[in-house]
Amino acid sequence: MIEALKQLEQQAQQEASTLSDPGRLQETKLKYLGRKGLFASVSARIGEVSAQDKPLAGQEMNRVKRELERIFAEAERALSGPSSSSAAGVDVTMPGTFPPCGSLHPLTQVVREISSIFRGLGYSIADGPEVESEYYNFEALNIPLDHPARDGFDTFYLQDGKLLRSQTSTVQIRVMEKSRPPIKVIAPGRVFRPDATDATHSFVFHQLEGLFIDRGVSFAHLKGTLFTFAQSFFGPGTRIRFRPSFFPFTEPSAEMDIWSDKRGGWLEVLGSGMVHPNVLRKAGIDPEKYTGFAFGVGVERMAMMKYGVEDIRQFYENDVRFLRQFS
């Protein structure tokens, strides 16, 4: 009889572990532990056991019964799923209590993404002051005093005759003063323009400037570099086109557009051009020996396109409900 009990235990263990349906599990449990179940029928054979062996058989009966109960209880727990842990006194569905993660500003993230694309192309990062002199913001960039070209660069002036830079191109000059070609830098930063604020204009915004000067740098390289940028930032297969434009510090100058299927048209993305020989000369670089290109990206504009933000002011309102999305 003891053998039969042991066999029963093994059999039940096997059967219970393969069941995945609670109904079948109940049936099986009854099959073993029901009033007319297998355990009852084997136990009934106690009468056949010799008086000498009875205590041992009794012990074994009790042990196997407990074991069977345990096997089925466990199988039930396993099937009733996640709440199983509460049986051990721990409700793991209660919220974790470590403080949640914060978020980085979307403009930071866009600057980072663009920077990392250009870092991959071998550019280093440069910076320069926001409070600048007339020289760096205009003169050195081939924008003479009282020239209509200045109308495009309306500028905040300070009491001491300095000004708030209206473009990050100022950093081009600072870099050229400090180092000799080859020069390959990007310069992200804030710029300021007295523009009336609306959904697409802000008197403070960010630009990311790029500058590459070396022997033999041509417009074809400008195209290649910005093409690579567009594929990385806007996705592979992005169509781009260049349109002539005018910036006093580049010649030839070009705007880059990308094709938008959504709008069914071209979108202006950035300004670029070959560094003007006057700018190189002013910085003491021989334009016959060296050529280069420069470009400037509007960071807010990129962020608006990337994240579908419709109003530039959202970047400066600092509503944490808006910012949290960028974690």
């Binding site: 980085l104 409070v131 080859p182 830098v185 009336a196 403070v204 910012l323």
Partner: protein, 679 residues
């Protein structure tokens, strides 16, 4: 600038639809903003860049169209002339020829002023101008056709027979044709008769001498004025006119007389009359600009592809340049007087590029000959990024605030003396009047904005440039408001020590050794505050509780903790981090003993720690405060403190007696120095 297609066709037929022409023009640098339909006709709305004043005319745009389509421009040839010698004379005096290199005045007598013929009046309307009368319209027509602004005076209303081109005298009065009265300064370039100003040169004519229905005799002005003088006057008197727009960008002085003849022809045709004498004062520098050498090698160097010489000749020729062969395969290119923007070889290369289109240029990545070195700027940017990542992981949200502030906001944020802040001289509104001297004000604005929107638990940071005492610095601002933690297990309000811990956490990750915190005097912004001195003696870190009166002024209903860190010093520390050798940890675990006592609350934990370290000697490795108690069962002015002391030897272990004797010694020292009581 508007371009009516019907008008363009008077000079060149593009043979393209309006849309196709718009595309071609846009891709060659004449940006078409939109294609309009006005009075049933297609009109292109253009944005002309400031370097191309020649394209502020139908003829200039006809040349562009011709270059793009390979067709020819037919320019109108004015045949009307003024007679020489006889008739009434006008004299001209020009005070400063630099400001007015050429001035011509042509008399036309016996005109009949009436509306201009409908076809021409409509052409003007399509260009966005008003049709006024046949004489004025003739001058405007020539303005749009050639880009030369002209002006017609009523000759009989001019006082005397002399035109003075001079600077205004201070206080002189002038009423423009727009009816507005201006009091002039002493440097405005004006046209005057013998008595008074009759026009602001190149900007606007005067009311009293304008051509009206009763005008019989006309004085037609055609001149060239200095762009800077016109620009100053336009800005000073806020008069934006078609005329000032063109003079500012540069009008071709050599085309002045032809424009005058063209206007004469139209006036005679539309208003009749008889041409009178032409008066002229000119001091034009006879500078047929020096030809520019265009080298095929340079073209290829800059564009990355060669352009064949016949193509160069064709493109530049259609744009009005003269092209001759020069030495060594180069070309000598002479620039027409209306293209003053072209001064060097680069400019000519741009012409080739834009007419042939950027599509022709291959798309190549530059060879990677450039060696990337780790430089200061990159290291700095990377360090700032690490700080940002760190704060994000600590649960902070990055914000960006406008760097310009109102005086009111600044005064409310602990800057009562605005004379210390840097002021913008030309703000658009009072909101942009001052440059931020710190990040506190922007932070207060952001906190208020969020509290209004029921976001009450705030951990914010901003990294930005601030400007004080003429110096620009990169600063990190941190703000904590509302509970630090609020979950089902723990609820804890933010404390100044939390913010201190956060600052230490962030800076130590940047290689900053333990910092020497000192209590700081209250400021107009912070009440309880602490600071760390920076490398050059200034304050490197300051943090504290924002004062109740500041919060009240901002209407912020909850506590706010604020810290500002001058990042420069700490980023320097990071870059100067030296390589070090790792030590093997001690063989035996350290021994911990606690010490607890009641002490006067004015005694700082810092000095207690220092005394314990001094008394404990080299084997006392760490003193850590683990409890503070004030309040019930504690005498007023006292607090109970509990410290954990860790002892460690480099070799071997302690005996109980050794430890006990150190503890006793420390206990005695504290009692003697600070009068602590053990309970």
């Amino acid at each position: 600038m508007r371009l009516p297609l019907s008008w363009l066709k008077e000079y060149v037929d593009p043979g393209l639809s309006a849309e196709a022409l718009a595309e071609r023009l846009s891709l060659s640098g004449t940006a078409v903003e939109s294609v309009l339909t006005l009075e049933g006709e297609p009109v292109l709305d253009l944005e002309i860049t400031s370097n191309r004043p020649d394209c502020l005319s139908l003829l200039g745009l006809a040349r562009e169209t011709a270059a793009l389509t390979g067709r020819k421009v037919s320019e109108p040839q004015a045949s009307a002339r003024s007679p020489k010698g006889a008739g009434e004379r006008i004299d001209i005096t020009v005070e400063d020829h630099k400001l007015c290199p050429i001035y011509t005045a042509r008399i036309i007598t016996g005109v009949r002023v009436a509306p201009a013929p409908p076809r021409w009046a409509k052409a003007l309307r399509l260009c966005g101008s008003r049709d006024i009368n046949n004489v004025v319209d003739a001058t405007n027509y020539v303005l749009f056709e050639t880009g030369h602004p002209l002006h017609a005076f009523d000759l009989d209303k001019l006082s005397g027979r002399r035109i003075h081109v001079r600077r205004s005298r201070k206080g002189e009065k002038f009423t423009g044709i727009d009816g507005n009265l201006h009091e002039l300064d002493d440097e405005t370039l004006i046209i005057a008769d013998d008595e008074r100003p009759v026009a602001i040169a190149g900007v606007m004519g005067g009311r009293q001498t304008e051509v009206t229905a009763s005008t019989r005799n006309v004085l037609l002005e055609a001149a060239c004025f200095d762009p800077v003088a016109v620009r100053r006057a336009r800005r000073k008197y806020k008069l934006n006119t078609e005329s000032s727009y063109r003079f500012e960008r540069g009008v071709d002085a050599l085309g002045v007389e032809r424009a005058s003849e063209r206007a004469l022809e139209l006036i005679l045709e539309w208003a009749g009359g008889t041409p009178g004498v032409l008066a002229k004062r000119a001091r034009l520098r006879p500078r047929p600009s020096k030809p520019i050498l265009l080298r095929p090698g340079r073209v290829e160097q800059l564009l990355g592809v060669p352009v064949k010489t016949p193509r160069v000749r064709a493109v530049l020729g259609r744009l009005g340049f003269g092209v001759k062969s020069a030495r060594a395969g180069a070309l000598s290119v002479s620039v027409p007087s209306f293209r003053r923007d072209v001064t060097q070889e680069h400019d000519l290369i741009e012409e080739l590029l834009r007419i042939d289109g950027f599509e022709r240029i291959p798309t190549l990545l530059p060879p990677t000959s450039h060696q990337t070195v780790s430089d200061e700027g990159t290291a700095r940017a990377e360090a700032l990024d690490e700080v940002r990542n760190h704060l994000k992981a600590l649960g902070f949200q990055e914000i960006q605030t406008y760097g310009l502030l109102s005086g009111k906001a600044l005064a409310q944020s602990g800057y009562p003396d605005l004379s210390l802040a840097t002021r913008v001289t030309n703000p658009l509104s009072a909101e942009q009047e001052y440059l931020r001297p710190d990040l506190a004000c922007g932070m207060l604005q952001a906190v208020l904005y969020n509290i209004h929107r029921k976001s009450l638990s705030l951990k914010l940071f901003e990294i930005g440039q601030v400007y004080r005492s003429g110096q620009e610095q990169t600063v990190l601002g941190l703000a904590l408001s509302g509970p630090l933690e609020e979950n089902w297990r723990r609820k804890s309000p933010s404390s100044i020590h939390d913010l201190k811990g956060i600052v230490e956490n962030v800076l130590s990750a940047q290689g900053q050794p333990p910092m020497d915190w000192r209590p700081a005097p209250a400021t107009a912004l912070l009440s309880a505050s602490a600071e760390v001195r920076g490398a050059e003696g200034g304050v490197g870190v300051r943090l504290g509780t924002v004062r109740a009166d500041v919060l009240k002024a901002w209407d912020i209903p909850q506590d706010l903790l604020f810290a500002e860190i001058i990042l420069y010093d700490y980023l320097q520390a990071r870059s100067q981090r030296k390589p070090f050798k790792a030590k093997v940890p001690p063989k035996y675990p350290s021994v911990r003993r606690d010490i607890a006592f009641v002490v006067d609350e004015r005694i700082e934990v810092g000095s207690l720690e220092a005394a314990m370290k001094a008394a404990g000697g080299p084997s006392l490795r760490e003193v850590r405060l683990f409890d503070e108690y004030r309040g019930k069962n504690m005498p007023a002015g006292k607090r109970s403190l509990a410290f954990a002391l860790s002892y460690q030897k480099d070799e071997g272990t302690f005996t109980d007696e050794e430890i006990q004797s150190l503890q006793t010694h420390i206990g005695t020292e504290l009692k003697q120095k600070f009068g602590v009581e053990y309970r």
